[in-house]
Symmetry: C3
């Protein structure tokens, strides 16, 4: 894996403009749609079961995010997820707030049981809750994992069969066998609502164009992190940061990615 | 029709501040509210049947957008639409994704059957699906019309009795008898989620102040297009474009409209 | 009460990062989440009854906003509100559009009857409707109160037992016994959708850290107003205003607050 792979995958997303279907929360949904466009893909949001099932079958990827869940919405996720599985469409799960309330934890496990998830993107608390290694989640923020983050990520991958993208100061990505640490990113990403959701949208965008889910998720982490670093270097607060983040990703070039990519196998 | 009519209609919106009631999607709803304010009108969003019915009766216009539809939401649209019809309130329909899934197509025709729609705002694919001339819609993006766009727009107007505003590189507006081509606009409008929805909100804002639905929709297309051109000339990406788009529309002056308006009868 | 109290309370929010649980509308929810972060608190949105009840019990404050209400959503507000009451968590109510439609007015009174509300944040029309002094509400905008605003605010507080934060060109805050007039603010706050909702989110953020609800709401009004003034002094329209508003609040310093705070007892 080298940075050229990552920039090549971005070129592929921009050329193919894959449809990325989201069933997501109403808090950050607009930023999810726009970050998908900035990556070169085409977002669609459809949450009613009939609509979601039909969209999932023709999408390049399906992103499930439980940030503002209800049992009906989780049912729609199950229907769309199963249809995506049948159609060979990769499914990204963002288990927002798993561990914070009973319904969020149970819904996460229900989705993981009934749908074959390709990539789980979560913070250390959420991933550790899935892994059963002891995670703390307060609202939708991570309180951290009880043990070593990499061990939790690996355990989560082992249990679910999914590639795992654990966000944090450094991101950890693993498919259980191979693991990467991504040092790209900026502290301002923690001061803007929905950067985690956006990362999942990017996982979907790149999964639709890639053929290896660990590597396409790594590409998402690196490109989003670099965009964050560039945006963070000149912003005055969360909203100027957001403007720069989206605009930077939209026009990011191969040479920028290859120059700033900062990841390694661990 | 001359540019002075358009700038005069904007003055009227700003003076009257008409209430524009939306039943719309949760992806772009915030931008719809704010673009309505930028035009000088007053947005309100109310989707529960009782709330929607009461709001529709006192509004200056009603905007229906099926971007994230459900059967319950479509029912609310029917109730509010019928009440708007009774009260003489113009109804704008944005058939987002008609043609992409069965429920979106069926819901569009159901609304068109039960509610008298004043203006249909859609992309070439959506308008052609309604016209029955063969349109392609992928997610919520147009894959184009099978035949000539103007013919599809005219056929859509003939079938529905509505004025039709077909968005594209050039916009086409027609009421079946008279047709206009609007060349204002900027490619960046295609790189920001929800510009189509915003155009429908502007149709509502201007319909509430105008007395001819084709001309008020033309005013919306021209003023939005000019704002896009100005914003696009200085932006770095979708979010700086959005900032400029809204701020430009908010403070646009008569002379700017009259100088840059670029439309003709076809 | 002096400005040092206000800046001290902001420091406390930033140090404690209280969880502020929202059950709110889908129009302005993203700005509500981000303004909460900009104040130093941690937002969470959860609207399903089970999720909302569990979140409310562990939150530092609960914000209820009926901007896009449905009977189901109001039921969730009642459940979460009662749980918050049991747990001693302050509850902020934003009765968006009370007086504009029957369901909004009735829902407001239902919530006030079943939940002990700590702070009511509304415009003059909404507060006067609750007070029964004769208010006018058009869509979600205030048409003003029939009588003297301060009298309406006091009557609203007397009737409900809540501290009242009435927004307007000057804000009025009262707990029935003590009353304050806040002159901070900027006209651009009226040209951006959701500034009222954001004010309620800030009331929640400060209520979670303060021990007197009138004073924590006053702190919210003053800090938000100062941020608006600074943002308004350099903006070109609603979206550059929004960017500056959020960024200014995010980095506001003690000395800025103490220098610009403009309020007095009335």
């Amino acid at each position: 894996m080298d940075p050229e792979y990552i920039s090549g995958l971005l070129d592929k997303v921009r050329a193919e403009k894959p449809l990325v279907h989201h069933i997501t929360n109403y808090v950050t949904v607009n930023d999810c749609a726009n970050i998908t466009i900035c990556a070169g893909a085409s977002p669609v949001m459809a949450h009613h079961p009939d609509d979601a099932e039909e969209m999932a079958a023709v999408a390049g990827a399906l992103v499930l995010n439980i940030g503002t869940l209800s049992p009906e919405l989780v049912d729609a996720m199950l229907i769309a997820g199963k249809r995506a599985n049948e159609a060979g469409v990769p499914v990204i799960l963002d288990p927002v707030g798993a561990g914070a309330t009973k319904i969020r934890t149970e819904s996460t496990f229900k989705i993981l049981k009934e749908v074959e998830i390709s990539v789980i993107k979560g913070n250390a608390g959420e991933i550790s809750v899935i892994a059963g290694t002891g995670g703390v989640v307060r609202g939708v923020d991570s309180g951290g994992s009880a043990g070593e983050p990499l061990e939790a990520a690996r355990a989560c991958s082992d249990l679910t069969g999914a590639a795992v993208f654990m966000t944090g100061q450094d991101d950890i990505l693993t498919d259980g066998r191979r693991s990467y640490l991504v040092s790209n990113g900026h502290p301002m990403m923690g001061s803007l609502s929905g950067t985690g959701c956006m990362a999942a949208s990017l996982c979907g965008s790149f999964a639709a164009a890639g053929d290896e889910l660990l590597l396409s998720s790594l590409a998402a982490a690196v490109i989003f992190g670099i965009s964050g670093e560039i945006a963070g270097s000149s912003c005055k607060g969360p909203y100027s940061f957001r403007n720069e983040l989206f605009d930077t990703l939209f026009r990011i070039k191969r040479e920028t990615i290859e120059r700033y990519a900062d990841f390694r196998m661990i």
